[in-house]
């Protein structure tokens, strides 16, 4: 059986932190699986793309430095979709079945949460500007974030506490101090959870039912449910498609096969070399996304500008909803069951439209930058899988809500 790991740490056991001697022990012994889009010095950080084949990371990503500092053990690189876009070509989450305690999955449109839904574990996408992107081989700089996938929220919280916070090398991070990420008590009687009516539009009957069941479940746990409206909810997908593809088209402009990546033969000049090598380097699916981005950039710039305006409006509208309810309840990502064997090629959606349909309930958080949490269903079906969100930088409280919900009334985990 093929492992989900494409590269295993050559050091079989934890060797201590290479950065400044002793680790602080906060994550000692925690086995972390990484996608090869997260730079680990001397590891093949190929980000799932032929365009980066042969590229070896020169430095640790900030996230990796902090994991090492806390004493975590980097287990290895998993297989991943090309630049982490969608879930095809890899088995995000599968490493948890191969001895990893947590897996870091780049979340561009909801990949970490969809992977968790597939493996029935939890996933957390932190607020944008909370976790450093230095050393992350990205695709959509204004939307992507390192997602955390693990069976339990305690591990996710400790890992988030470790990797979050200001980084002098990433200017897109907050200048202020890291918001409080510690656990807090949740009082259901004093807590309102908002439900965005339009988030259920267009869902399959099954997902709609699950969505309503999750609302009833929250009520049964004593929370006040409040119905909210965001008529433009469907625009999240459109805005993501336009801005995301334009950013991706720019971000991949640097993959020219000059310094790394294979050069296609037969070119008579540098321009031909670029064209042929880039044509050969990117997969068909990613290429359709990049071409779409180039189209908006070069031929429909006004559509891109409109998308930027709508995005700003959506950010404001979501922030306003978060003033009316402390948390938001959102549907589970479209369920794609895991394949029969680990490492088998995943069923990749055939088109961009199908991919966007798969992430219709998750990509709002990538557009606005707010945090999002996926909680898995219980085996008996009393609690279906669902997503929770909150205002930007409410990460600590959102995880506490998740921990409250995963434990029963007596404080035991379900």
């Amino acid at each position: 059986m093929e492992s989900t790991f494409a590269f295993l740490n050559p050091e079989p056991v934890f060797q201590g932190s290479p950065h400044g001697g002793a680790d602080d022990g906060y994550l000692r012994g925690l086995r972390v699986a990484l996608q090869p889009s997260i730079s680990v010095r001397d590891w093949p950080a190929e980000a799932g793309s032929v365009a980066l084949s042969g590229f070896t990371a020169l430095e640790d990503a900030t996230v990796v430095q902090r994991l090492r500092q806390a004493g975590a053990y980097l287990r290895g690189y998993t297989r991943m979709s090309e630049f982490g876009f969608g879930l095809g070509g890899g088995e995000a989450g599968a490493a948890l079945a191969e001895g990893a305690d947590i897996e870091l999955v780049l979340d561009l449109m909801g990949e970490s949460r969809a992977a968790a839904a597939r493996w029935k574990v939890s996933a957390f996408k932190p607020s944008y500007s909370l976790v450093s992107r230095l050393g992350i081989v990205g695709l959509i700089p204004s939307m992507e974030c390192c997602g955390l996938v693990a069976p339990d929220l305690g591990t996710i919280r400790k890992t988030l506490q470790t990797v979050a916070g200001p980084d002098d090398l990433d200017f897109s991070l907050l200048d202020e101090e890291t918001p409080d990420l510690s656990a807090r008590t949740i009082d259901p009687a004093a807590t309102t959870v908002g439900l965005i009516r339009e988030a259920a539009d267009g869902l399959s009957t099954e997902r709609q039912e699950a969505f309503h069941t999750s609302a009833r479940y929250l009520e049964s746990r004593g929370f006040t449910l409040k119905e909210l409206s965001l008529p433009d909810f469907a625009l999240f997908s459109l805005v993501h498609r336009i801005i995301g593809s334009v950013e991706a088209s720019s971000a991949t402009g640097r993959y020219d096969s000059v310094r790394y990546g294979p050069r296609a033969p037969g070119a008579r000049n540098w321009n031909e070399m670029y064209l042929r090598s880039r044509d050969a380097a990117f997969g068909t699916f990613l290429k359709s996304f990049l071409l779409q981005g180039a189209f908006f950039q070069f031929n429909r710039y006004e559509a891109f500008e409109a998308a930027c305006r709508i995005r700003a409006q959506l950010v404001t509208e979501m922030a306003n909803l978060c003033l009316r309810a402390e948390y938001l309840l959102l549907p589970t990502p479209q369920d794609t069951p895991p394949g029969p064997t680990v490492g088998a090629p995943a069923d990749r959606p055939a088109s961009l439209s199908a991919t966007y349909a798969q992430f219709d309930s998750t990509l709002f958080a990538n557009v606005t930058g707010q945090p999002a949490l996926y909680l898995p269903p219980t085996a008996d079906g009393t609690r279906p899988g669902f997503q929770l969100s909150g205002a930007a930088l409410s990460d600590g409280a959102l995880l506490s809500l998740g921990e409250h919900l995963l434990s029963d009334a007596n404080g035991e985990e379900w």
């Binding site: 020169l58 430095e59 230095l134 204004s142 640097r254 020219d256 310094r259 540098w270 950039q297 710039y301």
Partner: protein, 478 residues
């Protein structure tokens, strides 16, 4: 038909920052190739840009020095194009929200009337890598030097206010002076720290339409800019008069042949906001702090120099044009050197000598204190002007005091009438014709006789004393 030109300039200025614009690599593009590079300026996967605080400060000083208005909000965009000098496929520049808007430079037109030439906006951008074309055996190869990639630039875009080559040249000279004052750049077109491109179109004089323009590049001196514009006006006029319309394209100036010729256009795409460099908000306090850092600007200084030291307006402008020269002048004047003497020695003796010895005024051995000491000796009659020039030449090669040089070389002026009397008498005896001329009313002959005595003294005689002795004796014998 009578045509007039409509010209706008785009000027790139390299900021004299310690580091590149988005990383900590040294801003030294001239070093051994590909030494000053890192993952950020090579744009390796996972690298992030970090805007240099110093680049922002220098760019802001430059804007303020040109009277431009810093914008409370500015942001970087990606100028998308594919070329080997740009490994990430886009250049970080400011297309939508520039650092400053407005600003102007006042010059004197050819007719002597004042002209105000406006600046449209100024934006920051990173420079790209340098391409070097060589031959490897018989195969042409292209080499890329990334030392220049990411070095900090600003681009100054003017309004199409220029009508003549003269205006463009005067504008560039004044612009250079003001930027140097701000301390943001050396602005040398010869060394490539300032590069100007011109957008040129023509129209029938008296009309206001804007016609198709031609962009001209590759002028590396102020004079070339004037020559290229003049050439292009003539070329376009001839073209239009022969019925050929002007087409939008870019041309290169050939300084040897003094012509422009079309160049292949670089493919250039759109400008999209960059998601990795955060938007920049400039607070009123920060802008005020930058303004406070700006020194007295050249035109203001010229007025003060004229008032305080009695310089003529054009002399004051010449001195204030270069902050180093103005500083030197004021340092001399502060030692109670008579201002006109200071000006004369600075402009006719020191500056040409500095240029000849290829030195910089600010770092050369002749400091204001040393030149001041020399001029004081001259004012006190200890040496004459000839000797002072000799001493000055030597001062470039030694750190000895002017007094020591004078003593060692025996330049001390001879002013003793007794010592000079014999020499004067000998010359009078030897030159009866000149003596007769003088007595016959030809006053010029006195100068000749003074020269002869100077020669006899080996250049050390005090000319004033000789003149007195000669006049005395010539009139006494009558």
């Amino acid at each position: 038909m009578d045509y007039e030109a409509v010209v706008g300039l785009e000027i790139h200025v390299e900021l004299n920052c310690a580091t590149k614009m988005f990383c900590d690599c040294p801003n030294r593009p001239g070093d051994e190739p590909n030494i000053n590079v890192c993952p950020t300026c090579l744009w390796l996967p996972g690298a992030l840009p970090r805007l240099s605080e110093q680049a922002l400060e220098k760019a802001a000083l430059l804007c303020l020095a040109l009277g431009a208005e810093l914008q409370p909000l500015c942001a970087f965009d990606q100028k998308v194009y594919y070329y080997p000098d740009l490994p990430k496929g886009y250049q970080l520049s400011q297309a939508h929200l520039p650092l400053s808007r407005g600003g102007a430079i006042d010059i004197t037109g050819e007719d002597g009337a004042p002209r105000r030439l406006r600046i449209h906006h100024i934006h920051m951008e990173e420079d790209v890598a340098k391409l070097v074309h060589e031959m490897e055996g018989r195969t042409p190869i292209g080499l890329v030097d990334f030392n220049r990639a990411g070095t900090p630039l600003v681009e100054i875009v003017t309004e199409p206010d220029f009508r003549t080559p003269h205006e463009a040249m005067e504008f560039l000279k004044a612009l250079r002076t003001q930027i140097r004052y701000g301390g943001a750049s050396e602005c040398s077109m010869e060394n490539g720290t300032m590069r100007a491109d011109a957008n040129i179109s023509i129209r029938p004089r008296g009309t206001t339409q804007m016609n198709t323009k031609v962009e001209v590049k590759n002028m590396n001196s102020v004079r070339h800019v004037g020559d290229a514009i003049a050439y292009e006006i003539e070329r376009q006029t001839a073209s239009v008069e022969s019925g050929e319309p002007v087409v939008l394209h870019t041309r290169l100036w050939d300084p040897d042949k003094k012509v422009t010729s079309p160049m292949r256009a670089k493919f250039e795409g759109p400008c999209v906001p960059d998601p990795s460099v955060p938007v920049i908000r400039l607070s009123g306090e920060w802008i005020a702090e930058m303004r406070a850092r700006l020194p007295e600007m050249p035109t203001v200084r010229a007025e003060r120099l004229a008032t305080d030291y009695g310089l003529a307006p054009d002399e004051a402008l010449t001195v204030s044009a270069d902050p180093q020269v103005a500083d030197f002048f004021e340092a001399l004047a502060a030692q109670e050197i008579e201002p006109r003497t200071a000006l004369h020695w600075l402009t006719t003796q020191l500056l040409p000598a500095v240029k000849d010895t290829r030195q910089e005024l600010s770092v050369c051995r002749v400091t204001p204190a040393r030149l001041g000491a020399l001029l004081k000796m001259m004012a006190a009659g200890k040496i004459n002007a000839n000797a002072a020039r000799e001493v000055l030449t030597r001062m470039f090669h030694t750190d000895d005091t002017p007094e020591a040089i004078v003593a060692a070389q025996g330049f001390t002026q001879v002013s003793d009438p007794d010592a000079l009397g014999a020499m004067v008498q000998q010359v009078l005896d030897e030159q009866p014709a000149a003596v007769a001329d003088y007595r016959g009313g030809q006053v010029k002959a006195l100068g000749f006789l003074v020269g002869r005595v100077m020669q006899a003294s080996g250049g050390k005689a005090n000319p004033k004393v000789i003149r007195e002795l000669l006049t005395d004796r010539l009139s006494a014998a009558e």
